[in-house]
Amino acid sequence: MAKFFPIGQVMGFVFSLVLTFVALLVYFTDMSMKTGMIVLLVTAFLQAGLQFMIFMHAGETKDKWSIYSNIAYGFGLVIITVLGTLLILLWDMDM
């Protein structure tokens, strides 16, 4: 029976709603800037990962290795670029 009922998708949907709700808390409760940003960043990345795995079917085909390595590569480059830019223009700029 498990095959006929898309349990993974339903759970994924519920979980993504929960994540959205948690992110909304930042707006409706009185959090500090720091906590709020942490909550937003964590929920955002979890949400993206969830959508990617469950609703965009990233891990379901034979080429999942190339899809994941592509994402990891892109992720690494974004982190390098953002950190590098912050380093150049903010953290280490004599102004």
Binding site: Y73, G76, L77, T81, G84, T85, I88, L89, D92, M93
Partner: protein, 656 residues
């Protein structure tokens, strides 16, 4: 009348008026010739609407050669202006415009289409595919690139050229300091061509990942295909940064946003940062396919397999990652601290390691090889020492403390020409000579070809080695004139002579094409060089379906054709079946025209026309969504008949 004033060139000169007349005359002559020979139908049916990767490739090639001519004329003008102190050939403004367009045209509209030509022509053949993964999208890429290039080239006769350097740094590029529409051309024409390039990147990654012949694992791909895969990967990750930066720059100029403006919270340094986040990987987008071509040519004429295949692949993968970690070395002097500069100095020097590995692998391939010195091989042999010289000066520039001494001097100009010309341009011309018979069925003349290489290298050394010296002596880059007291005169004159000699070598290349077209024998078979890769395993001229039977390389190495020839490995198994091919389409051309209208209107802030162009672009997409296009089959009999025709042709001509 007021409406038309915007199209005037703000700083006209005799040269510009002359070019206007010439452009008009050449355009009229072209239209007249095509009409006289009734070629419009042929061009439309066979070329403008083609989705055949080989023909799209050749259209890229023609554009690249035209742009090489245009950028080359710019270069000679620049060198002539500097050949004498206080020269009045160009004014300061005109000089700025010429070096800006020289840079943009050579990098984005010459080198980029040249490598895209090789992607298009070679990748499907090397992996045994019938076409790319998305043939229609491939044609859209071409037309977007072409329209972007034409738009950019229009700038110097309509509205004025961009004049803020090919890097177009803000705040200089902002409205306050660049008042003509020139920099709008820069922002929008490159944007349109860049979208085309991004699409090409996605297309070729998909093609290489999904359409390889049975048995071709990743580590059995020919080296050029590997380099194409890595280069396209870099395209997909680097070009979005350019897209965003150009969009922000265009908004600053057209809609008065303040991303890069100095006042109102804008950050001019962010442009330099974003530009080079794209710009440095771009360098590797250009050089990796060049390395790939040398890796095809050197084993062929050393008559042995490539030394260190795995090392070659892994060094390219390493370069692709490192290329994204070094961008700050383009602006060491911008004001960030010593710590940042040190980090980026080290990452920059790290790139020299995988590049060095590649150089040594080529040398080891030559070692104990039976070298045949053909024209493509001669280019490769000139490439190795000259490129290494450029690499070494690159490491000099990478040392940030030392870089403060030669930042923005002619030393830098000499360095990057020293890597781009012997690296990229030599590879392109070597590859062009090497694959010419595969494309057109006759070989380029070897004697003229070899003479061209020698003349070109002589010109190159004379033109660029003096710049290292004047650069270290303090001649600044982009300075339009200098006084005699500086002592730069002699070396700059030598440099101009070198540039003129390079122009002669370009003329020799064109002459060679004409001469060989007239005189070369046509009975050369399909493997005139005794080559090794799968791309040589098909007929010449290549049939539209590439291979009658899909090759199976399970038992072959990365040099499948060599294994077939010399070791009797069977790669064409089974019978000829019907072949599925994509349909031609005129839509990409139409879409390109709408993009041109959109771009042109945006440059001149003609919003109603721009909206019409935008609606046209979107309309093409909507039309495509509802269009059913399932391609067509070439029936089995037709394929067999074509194959038989080739056999008869070879017999009749007495091919070897």
């Amino acid at each position: 009348m007021e409406f038309f004033e915007r199209f005037m060139v703000p700083h006209p000169s005799f040269l510009i008026y002359m070019s206007m007349v010439l452009i008009a005359l050449v355009s009229i002559a072209l239209v007249a010739v095509v009409t006289y020979f009734k070629l419009w139908g042929y061009l439309w049916r066979e070329w403008f609407t083609t989705v055949d990767h080989k023909k799209i490739g050749i259209m890229y090639l023609i554009t690249a050669l035209l742009m090489l001519f245009r950028g080359g004329v710019d270069a000679v003008m620049l060198r002539y202006q500097l050949s004498m102190p206080e020269n009045a050939f160009l004014t300061a403004q005109h000089y700025n415009e010429v070096f800006t367009t020289h840079g943009v045209v050579m990098i984005l509209f010459m080198a980029m289409p040249f490598i895209t030509f090789f992607f298009n022509f070679l990748v499907p053949l090397q992996i045994g595919a019938r076409d790319v993964a998305f043939p229609r999208l491939n044609l859209i890429s071409f037309w977007l690139f072409f329209m972007g290039a034409m738009l950019f080239n229009l700038s110097f006769v309509i509205g004025g050229s961009p004049d803020a350097g090919w890097t177009s740094y803000f705040p200089l590029a902002d409205n306050e300091f660049s008042t003509s529409v020139g920099t709008n051309y820069y922002m929008i024409a490159i944007q349109i061509a860049g979208i085309g390039t991004l699409i090409t990147g996605i297309n070729f990654i998909t093609t290489i990942m999904k359409m390889r012949a049975p048995g071709m694992t990743l580590f059995k791909m020919p080296m050029f295909t590997w380099s194409a895969l890595i280069a396209n990967l870099i395209i997909v990750f680097a070009f979005p940064v350019l897209t965003v930066a150009l969009a922000m720059g265009a908004m600053d100029r057209l809609f008065d946003t303040k991303f890069f403006a100095i006042g109102d919270g804008g950050m001019d340094m962010l442009w330099a940062n974003l530009f080079w986040v794209w710009g440095h990987p771009e360098v590797y987008i250009l050089i990796l396919p060049a390395f790939g071509l040398f890796s095809e040519i050197i084993p062929t004429f050393a008559r042995r397999n490539l030394y260190g295949y795995n090392a070659m692949v892994w060094s390219m993968i390493l370069i692709s990652v490192l290329s994204f970690t070094v961008w700050t070395h383009h602006f060491f002097t911008m004001g960030q601290g010593a710590m940042t500069n040190s980090i980026f100095s080290i990452t920059t020097m790290l790139i020299a390691i995988p590049t060095g590995i590649k150089i040594f692998n080529w040398l080891f391939t030559l070692y104990k090889g039976k070298i045949v010195m053909t024209t493509p091989m001669l280019y490769s042999m000139h490439f190795i020492p000259l490129f290494t010289l450029g690499g070494v000066t690159g490491v000099m520039l990478a040392m940030s403390a030392a870089d403060y001494q030669y930042h923005n001097t002619m030393f830098l100009v000499a360095h990057f020409h020293n890597v781009i010309i012997p690296g990229v341009v030599y590879a392109m011309l070597a590859g062009l000579t090497f694959y010419w018979p595969k494309m057109f069925g006759f070989m380029l003349n070897e004697r003229i070809g070899k003479a061209t290489v020698w003349v070109m290298s002589t010109g190159f050394v004379l033109a660029f080695i003096p710049m290292y010296i004047t650069g270290l002596d303090g001649q600044a880059r982009r300075m339009y004139t200098y006084s005699e007291a500086t002592g730069f005169t002699t070396l700059n004159m030598v440099s101009f002579i070198g540039a003129a000699i390079m122009a002669v070598s370009f003329g020799m290349l064109v002459w060679n094409i004409w001469y060989s077209f007239k005189n070369s024998p046509r009975n050369i078979g399909s493997d005139p060089w005794n080559a090794r890769g799968l791309e040589w395993a098909t007929h010449t001229p290549i049939p539209s379906y590439n291979f009658a039977i899909t090759p199976d390389v399970t038992n072959a190495s990365s040099e499948a054709f060599w294994d077939m020839k010399k070791n009797g490995v069977e790669i064409f198994k089974g019978d000829i079946k019907k072949i599925h091919m994509p349909n031609y389409s005129g839509l990409p051309f139409v879409m390109g025209v709408f993009f041109f209208i959109l771009g042109f209107a945006m440059i001149f802030s003609m919003w109603i026309v721009a909206i019409i162009g935008l609606i046209g672009v979107l309309g093409c997409m909507v039309y495509r969504t509802f269009e059913k296009d399932e391609g067509f089959y070439i029936p089995e009999e037709e394929v067999k008949a074509t194959e038989k025709k080739y056999e008869e042709m070879y017999k009749k001509r007495g091919d070897k």
